[in-house]
Structures are given as structure tokens and as C-alpha cells.
């Protein structure tokens, strides 16, 4: 018998294989279960076209925080990833692009030096090759275990986005649940096109922080993808099954003759 999972939204129980066949979207209520970076990449990339950029980074503990190294080791085991973002290259309907996928499972997708470095490198690589850069975000924000260096990642990734813009290379952002804090206040809001997944929480301050400030409960749907669409900060909410098609269209219209087909 296959594994069963319960939808946290409508509470119905499904066979895992059934939910997986819907790209992990609840067949009943449309709740978007979290995808691993590998699942995300296979949902948009052509066949086996994805090649990961090599992971060559020294372990950073810039403020010498006790217990941080252990925390990283635990996260590596738990998420089966080396860091909170995977970067690499792939093709989408035959056209090459650079892609980065963040993972909320790795320390809440928090952005430390390595995450910022990988994202900045991916953008600069895209600019160098003149290939569109696609970033799937999922993050609680800056990784405060790295102190001021985590804040500096906002500067580093945004400066890379500036360079990408100057090189006239498109940046497509897909905001997935949840994207908050220093990631929202840097590259995640800097796409030429910002897409989002249904129901994703997208904001700067976390809901509890805002509730603490205003002293009352937030209205339902505050900071949701739908809210951001209404307020004008994202271009479209795209269904998971349409994501590849949508990205393919955006690449085609932005890259003109630069296709490898």
C-alpha cells in the first residue's frame, strides 16, 4: 500500500502517489504541498537537462556562533541538501536558462553567505551567458546566525540583480510559500516578471511581528499571493501544472532568436 498524506488545508487523506501525480497539489482543495528542489526542477526542466553548479564553498561561521556548525550538519541530513538553495543550468522547451531553487526545509530557507553567494553567482552566470535567470524563492529571510554577513547578502544579491539588469538579461522570480524578510526585501522583488504560487505567504515582516506592532489579528489572506497580486507587487499567480508553459513563454518572448533549438 502506498504512503498516505493528509492535506493540511482540507484535511482529506490521499495516497501519496495520487497527490504526487498532481505535482503535489491537493486534488480536492488545490493546496500546494511543498516541493523539494529536485521535484521543482523536474517540474519545469526538460528531461535530464538540469546540471547542478558545483558546490565549492568553505563553511562560514563569520561571527563564530556556538552550535551553528552542528545546526548546519543536522540540516544537511534532514533536508538532504548542502545548503538552502540549489543552482544550476537546464533547458525549458529547448531553451537554456540558469535556475536557482530555494528550500524552506533547510533552516527555513534562510539566506546566509553561501545562499547569497550561490544566488549572486547564478545571476552573474546568467548575465555572462545572456541566459534568463529563474529563481524559485522560499525563505524566512536572512540567516541571523551569520550576523551582519546575512544582512549583506541582501546587498550582494540585489547588486547582482542590478548587473543582470544592465546586461539586459531577464530575471524571472517565482515566489513560493513562504517568502519573507530579507529575501522579499532583496532579489525576490526584483524580477522583470514576478510570479507566485497560489496561497503563498509573501511579505517583509512576519505576520506575528505585524500583529505585535498593530496589536490585533491580521485580516484573512493578508500577505498572500492573492493580496500581493491585488496590491500590484506580482504579475501573476500561476498554477503549478502551468509553470513550465508560462516560463517557456516568458523565455521565448524575452530571448527572441537566442534559442538553441
Amino acid at each position: 500500500m502506498s504512503k498516505q498524506i493528509q492535506c493540511p488545508s482540507c484535511h482529506r487523506v490521499f495516497d501519496y502517489d495520487v497527490v504526487a501525480s498532481y505535482m503535489k497539489v491537493c486534488p480536492k482543495c488545490g493546496y500546494h504541498h511543498r516541493l523539494t528542489p529536485a521535484e521543482r526542477i523536474s517540474s519545469i526542466a526538460d528531461g535530464n537537462s538540469f546540471a547542478e553548479f558545483p558546490f565549492t564553498y568553505a563553511f562560514p561561521n563569520p561571527i563564530g556562533l556556538e552550535g551553528y556548525q552542528e545546526k548546519i550538519s543536522q540540516s544537511r541530513d534532514k533536508a538532504n541538501l548542502e545548503e538552502a538553495v540549489i543552482t544550476g543550468e537546464c533547458t525549458i522547451d529547448g531553451r537554456p536558462c540558469v535556475v536557482a531553487v530555494m528550500s524552506f526545509d533547510f533552516m527555513g530557507g534562510s539566506m546566509g553567505s553561501v545562499v547569497g553567494e550561490k544566488i549572486a553567482e547564478a545571476m552573474i552566470e546568467g548575465a555572462l551567458r545572456h541566459e534568463p535567470v529563474i529563481i524559485f524563492t522560499a525563505s524566512g529571510g536572512a540567516r541571523m546566525q551569520e550576523g551582519i554577513f546575512s544582512l549583506m547578502q541582501m546587498a550582494k544579491t540585489s547588486a547582482a540583480a542590478a548587473l543582470l539588469e544592465k546586461s539586459l538579461t531577464p530575471l524571472f522570480i517565482v515566489l513560493t510559500h513562504p517568502t519573507t524578510g530579507g529575501v522579499t526585501a532583496s532579489f525576490a522583488m526584483l524580477g522583470d516578471v514576478n510570479l507566485a504560487e497560489k496561497g503563498a505567504l509573501i511579505g517583509f515582516a512576519g505576520p506575528r511581528v505585524i500583529e505585535g506592532t498593530i496589536g490585533e489579528k491580521l485580516p484573512a489572506g493578508f500577505q498572500s499571493a492573492e493580496f500581493q497580486l491585488e496590491k500590484g507587487f506580482i504579475d501573476a499567480i500561476v498554477a503549478r501544472e502551468d509553470m513550465k508553459k508560462t516560463l517557456s513563454f516568458l523565455i521565448r518572448v524575452h530571448m527572441g532568436e537566442h534559442s538553441n533549438e
Binding site: T56, Y57, A58, P60, P62, I63, S113, V114, G116, E117, A120, E121, I124, E125, A127, L128, A142, M144, Q145, E146, G147, I148, F149, S150, L151, M152, M154, A155, K156, S158, A159, A160, A161, A162, L163, E165, K166, S167, G181, G182, T184, A185, S186, F187, A188, M189, L190, G203, F204, A205, V209, I210, G212, T213, I214, L218, F222, Q223, K231, F233
Partner: protein, 310 residues
């Protein structure tokens, strides 16, 4: 007292003052700096701007939504030079604190700052930023009007602004709200200022799971001017009077003014291309220690840069 002994005495005084300054700053804990940086009577951006400028005119509004009192922008003159100033504003008393939202800007503040910076770029004026904020405002309206987008845009635009940008953290450098006006060619901190990704209180309650541990959090976070100088996040430390900037505001104002004049004399001779290349490269190399095998991380950046039409 004859001339000779007067000279000797003033030299001794000066030496003692230097020694005590050194002692005071080395002896002051991170938490003491946190408290000093937040002190109500600490000299403000507005104070420094008026001390430094011969003339100053404040300019209001972001041209989209409103005028954020927590952010001051305007044009001043220093000697023969016109300079754009941007700074956080906390207010000098309780009434002003409230009208300035305790220095916590809404999106309008960051958009006003960007407007001032782009105006400066258009008319080839250097930009000076004074940072003193607990952070961007975590409120309902701020989210509705895109505080994340406003800060993000500033980071991107300031990174390639074609005029010199100097930033001074004069009090609290609170996270993304500080960074939103903190990207530039050179970043300075006043001796007792602090700069961090989160407040020590926040760090204590989230990571140490104990809000009362803010003091030890402040030490662990390494948020003082000395720490950040060591990390090479800041260019240099601006001295304060031994008792703190509030005990002799003019002393610090003068040190800031001298730094601005010295840097602008140098940076204003650079071409916009060289300024932007230097700035992008500096930002790119923040985490150079990640690449133990290849310390030059900006090779590709420079290659792209030379191809871009800037």
C-alpha cells in the same frame, strides 16, 4: 604659563584625551553601545546635516503616496559643493518621536530616498546617507504598499548609482531598514553606533529563546563599530567624545565633515563607470572567505561589467 609650557600642556591634554577615548571605546561593551546608540539625546541626522552644511533645504515627498517624516532628504552646500543628504529621523522629543514613527520608515520613506538619490545622479551631486533606525516599519500599511519592494529597489538602484555615495551609521543600524539607505562607496560607523541584522532583543528571543538574554545576544552578534571594522564591512570608525557623541556633538560633526570632504575630493574625480565598478566589486567580495581556493570572486562580474552599456 609661558608659551612653551602651554604647548606642552595642550599636547599632554590631547594625549590623555586620545588615551581615554581609546580606553572608553575598548572598555565599552556591545550592550552599552546598544544603549548609547538609542539614547534620546544622541545627535541626529538632522543635527549633523545642519552642522555640516552652509545651507540646507529639505525636500519632501516620494511623488507616489506621501511624505514619510521618518526619512529626511534634501540638498545642502558644503564649501563650493552641492550635496544630496538622506537620513533617518527619530525626532528629538516624545512628540516628534511619535510623528517620526521612532525612525521606522514606511515604503514612502525609501521611495523618497530613492527619488533624492536619482535626482542627485541626474545633477551629478554626491549623496550622503545618515543611518539611524531600529528598522523598517513592520505595519499593515507598510506591507500593503510594498515595504519589501521599496527596500529591494533601493539596494539595486544604489548599487549602480553614478555618483559617489557615502553612508554613516550614526546610531542604530537596524537591519534591512538601515541597509535600504546603506549601499554606497564607503560605509562609516560612529564609534558607539551599532549595525545588525536583527535587534539583540529579537536575536535573544528567536535564537536563544529567552528575551531577557539581550545583553549576551548583543555580544554574540558582533554588532559594534570595532567588530564591523574587523569584518571589513565598514571602511572606518568615526570617533565620538569619550562620554559619547551627545557629550560633544560638534566634535563628531566635525569628524564627519572632514571625512566627507576628504572622500568627496577623491571620489568626485572618478568617472561614473569606475565608481560603479568599484562599488559592485566591493559588494561582490563581501564573502571572499567562502572561496579559499579562488579569492578573486569578481572576475565574471568584471567581464559582464565591461560588456554592459552603463
Amino acid at each position: 604659563m609661558n608659551k612653551e609650557s602651554a604647548k606642552l600642556y595642550s599636547t599632554v591634554d590631547a594625549m590623555e584625551e586620545i588615551a581615554s577615548t581609546k580606553e572608553a571605546s575598548e572598555g565599552r561593551s556591545s550592550w552599552e553601545c546598544v544603549l548609547l546608540s538609542r539614547q534620546q539625546n544622541r545627535p541626529s541626522a538632522s543635527y549633523y546635516i545642519h552642522q555640516i552644511c552652509d545651507e540646507f533645504m529639505e525636500l519632501h515627498g516620494d511623488r507616489y503616496y506621501g511624505d514619510d517624516k521618518a526619512m529626511i532628504t534634501g540638498i545642502g552646500t558644503m564649501g563650493g559643493r552641492a550635496v544630496t543628504f538622506i537620513g533617518n529621523r527619530k525626532g528629538a522629543n516624545m512628540k516628534e518621536n511619535i510623528s517620526c514613527n521612532y525612525g521606522m520608515s514606511n515604503p514612502e520613506g525609501y521611495r523618497k530616498a530613492l527619488r533624492a538619490a536619482k535626482q542627485a545622479e541626474k545633477f551629478n551631486r554626491p549623496v550622503i546617507c545618515f543611518i539611524d533606525t531600529p528598522g523598517a516599519y513592520p505595519g499593515l500599511g507598510a506591507e500593503q504598499r510594498g515595504i519589501g519592494e521599496a527596500i529591494a529597489r533601493n539596494l539595486k538602484e544604489f548599487a549602480t548609482l553614478r555618483v559617489p555615495v557615502l553612508s554613516f551609521i550614526i546610531g542604530e543600524g537596524g537591519s534591512g531598514g538601515a541597509l535600504g539607505i546603506g549601499i554606497g562607496d564607503k560605509l562609516y560607523m560612529l564609534e558607539n553606533a551599532v549595525y545588525s541584522v536583527i535587534t539583540p532583543e529579537g536575536f535573544a528571543s528567536i535564537l536563544l529563546r529567552d528575551p531577557s538574554q539581550a545583553q549576551s545576544a548583543a555580544e554574540a552578534m558582533k554588532m559594534t563599530s570595532r567588530d564591523l571594522k574587523e569584518f571589513q564591512i565598514i571602511h572606518d570608525i568615526i570617533p565620538e567624545a569619550p562620554g559619547g557623541a551627545h557629550t560633544d556633538p560638534a566634535f563628531t560633526a566635525n569628524a564627519i565633515k572632514e571625512t566627507i570632504e576628504r572622500d568627496l575630493d577623491n571620489l568626485c574625480t572618478k568617472t561614473p563607470e569606475n565608481l560603479v565598478r568599484y562599488r559592485l566589486r566591493k559588494i561582490r567580495n563581501i564573502d571572499v572567505q567562502l572561496h579559499s581556493d579562488n579569492p578573486e570572486t569578481s572576475t565574471k562580474l568584471l567581464e559582464v561589467f565591461t560588456r554592459c552599456r552603463l
